[in-house]
Amino acid sequence: MRAFTYERAQSIAGAALAGCRPGAKFIAGGTNLLDLMKLDIETPSHLIDVNGLGLDRIEATPDGGLHVGALVRNADLASDTRVRRDYALLSRALLAGASGQLRNKATTAGNLLQRTRCPYFYDTNLPCNKRQPGSGCAAIGGFSRNHAVLGASDACIATHPSDMAVAMRALDATVTTMRADGAGRRIPIADFYTLPGNTPQRETVIEPGELITGVTLPKPVGGIHIYQKVRDRASYAFALVSVGAIVQADGSGRIALGGVAARPWRIEAAEAAMPQGAQAVTALLMAGARTTPDNAYKITLVGRTIKAVLDQARKETA
């Protein structure tokens, strides 16, 4: 690991200002950042510890929703009684990710900002446009079983690994931030992640020094909440594909996918087809998919997983 200096931020404004320094990075739980620093993939020269900023509360909003502080640990968010009751999809997605130890440390903002687990991103001996822009992509033409089938580019076919973000996308969450100039932003989760294009090193619209202060959930929408994650082992593995769904009694609802793209994949127009069944929804969601021989199975797997989810929702509604 490269040497770095360390400070404990005393205020949100101070942190955002310090975050503008070249080579500076925020650290909260550290479960992904330290892993990447050990491998020389992330090489910050200065770490700003934001754990003391008081952003660790879950509070009701005036319009009946919840504001989740950036530093709320994944374990605490998943087990909050309001989240379990009104946003079960979020609890389910969080509990499907990582391990008990990691969920105790990992934060809401850190979960959103975690990097891909593409093995070529992790292997510093191989080219990766995300790690080293312009070096090429070893995943294209490589072992691409876990890679993206939607929204990918000729520069990068990595997926975003978060389960939580899939739930946030289906719940229409909004990311709140603070910038060094003191101006905050409210970024709808739909606009938060960027697709790789020619700049896969850029993954979100967050600017240097911009600090995520929390995530706002709109008021609950009811319905049956299901998060179905398909993976190579029963626990403690990243998704091959995942389906986060909210299904209402009349069959309408929302669906977001994980494991298929560089961001949670949701197409609102496809949801109009939910009452017609899994096949119709899948066709609309997966339109334009580009597969490799290794990951073509994801098309079939998404269709079958959506079918299982809609069947389960129907059973629970009955």
């Binding site: 499907a96 008990g100 440390k105």
Partner: protein, 214 residues
């Protein structure tokens, strides 16, 4: 109990010194292959931190890069906590921080100012075992034993989490009290790998302690 600070020559010291002898014969190779900081590197940055480890106050000045795991093992000689993968994938380094289990390999020591850390050495002693330590022995919950300190620290936290009503991925009803089945235990312990495959005995050991605590 064996005082780690004044211990005589231990197996680990022997391994360290014999390892140094091997390294000395390979200087040219290790010099070229070592991950020395690049020219742009600012160099080590020492930072002070104070925390409580197993009830004892400790104050250390550490290179900021030092993980909590390395602080425990290399600076405080508490080698009960094991380094397996060093990347948060195996759980061998699990310790309790303010009562919550974490991977100590993925946490910087300097970020634990004022924290209270419990390691396997703080759970029980050879004369007075923690109930989970006794149960692991009784049920043969290990073969090589390398993952065991992490398994036991994790299990201590699992029982507390269940008591607090924390749900898991396999909990059928998020709003109902948690029933500690074998399936629940396997899910909750999935962050602790055992390459010897002692899992079924580990489940038996934890189940016994959970039953007597209920």
């Amino acid at each position: 109990m064996h005082d780690p600070h004044t211990a005589d020559m231990k197996r680990r010291d022997f391994l360290v010194s014999s390892g140094a002898a091997v390294a000395a014969t390979m200087v040219p190779l290790s010099a070229s292959a070592s991950a020395q900081p690049a020219a742009t590197d600012a160099g080590p940055a020492p930072h002070q931190v104070s925390f409580t480890i197993n009830g004892q106050q400790e104050a250390l000045v550490l290179d900021t890069r030092t993980t909590l795991l390395d602080a425990l093992r290399e600076h405080l000689q508490l080698t009960g906590t094991k380094k397996g993968c060093d990347h948060g994938q195996c759980g061998a380094c699990t310790v309790l921080v303010n009562g919550r289990r974490i991977n100590s390999c993925l946490s910087l020591a300097v970020m634990h100012e004022g924290d209270s850390v419990t390691t396997i050495e703080g759970l029980g002693t050879p004369q007075s075992l923690h109930p989970l330590q006794a149960a692991f022995i009784k049920h043969d919950g290990y073969q090589c034993g390398y993952c065991t300190p992490g398994q036991i620290c994790s299990a201590v936290a699992v029982l507390a989490e269940v008591k607090a009503g924390v749900p898991s991925h396999v909990t059928a009803d998020l709003d109902a009290p948690v029933r500690l089945t074998a399936g629940e235990l396997r899910e909750r312990m999935s962050g602790n790998l055992c390459r010897c495959g002692a899992y079924s005995n580990i489940v038996d050991a934890i189940t016994e302690v959970a039953g007597s605590a209920a």
